[in-house]
Symmetry: C2
Subunit: 145 residues, 2 copies
DNA sequence: TTCCGTGCAAACAATTTGCAATAGA
DNA sequence: TCTATTGCAAATTGTTTGCACGGAA
């Protein structure tokens, strides 16, 4: 039932007092259709498949709204533009600084670190917003040679 | 002996076959003088105190060189421009997404996570390049109210 | 009808680049 | 001398904004 996330998002927009427009629905649907990790530009291209006249600025403004409503979020995967995704299953990213490969890891991997930092500093980490960088297995092996 | 880091950096530039220029020395000295977490713009201002005619583009080009030589590195602390620092004691940053406070934590905090990710995925993390975001103790307490 | 949302073009911030002049080795 | 480095201004990239028009409620 893929339409469910879209309907929930639309409902949240309405509930917030913002207007439900064709453009906003189109952005949410494109986000829903197109997995994780899209840049605003890529998302716009996905939107344009069905709605070629929606402006890039509108895509940015809609993403801003969706983030305020906690319907969508952006992540920084290494350098370059932000990546966007609908709220949903939380996972994290390791980005290889050599080959740019992205490895996804479950949120629970951070639990021990989370507890430790909370105990030590009172800081509640949300590691979702930024990726961790480093060297992937393949590139690390290459470097050893 | 604060000049030591500068001398080492200059020597590394020479050893790499690049030329040791007044501008490059000025950038290294400004970096050495001015603690961590400087943006390129702030670094340029520090340079201009003694060398008002050095161009911002030269600062950027020098930083690029220093990073290639592993003399200096940049870090992403939340949104906004990159922050630069000389190589040296490695530590990490927690950035509060509400108040932008920065909490520094020692590298060793990451050891268990590092080991786990290495075992699970073969990925060697270098958590230095990106900060972790979240909510600091004070803001978390405010949010509870 | 009343504002909110949108298109458009221009502004913006951070960074990079092409090219001619200059200065290290 | 010879070529790497620099200044300058312009280009780039990703994103935001002002304003007049058009469409949800």
């Amino acid at each position: 039932m893929p339409a469910q996330r879209v309907d929930q998002a639309i409902e949240a927009i309405r509930a917030s007092g913002s207007r439900v427009t064709v453009d906003r629905r189109a952005v949410v649907e494109a986000l829903d259709r197109s997995g994780d990790h899209l840049t605003a530009e890529q998302l716009a291209e996905a939107v344009w498949v069905r709605h070629p006249d929606i402006n890039l600025a509108t895509v940015y403004r809609t993403l801003e709204l969706l983030e305020r409503l906690e319907i969508a979020f952006h992540v920084h995967l290494g350098h370059g533009p932000s990546r966007w995704h609908l709220a949903g299953d939380v996972h994290h990213h390791l980005v290889c600084e050599i080959c740019n490969r992205v490895v996804e890891i479950p949120d629970s991997t951070f639990d021990p670190l989370r507890k430790r930092l909370l105990d030590d500093t009172g800081f509640v980490i949300d590691p979702h917003h930024f990726s961790l960088s480093g060297t992937c297995a393949a590139c690390a092996a290459d470097a050893d040679r």
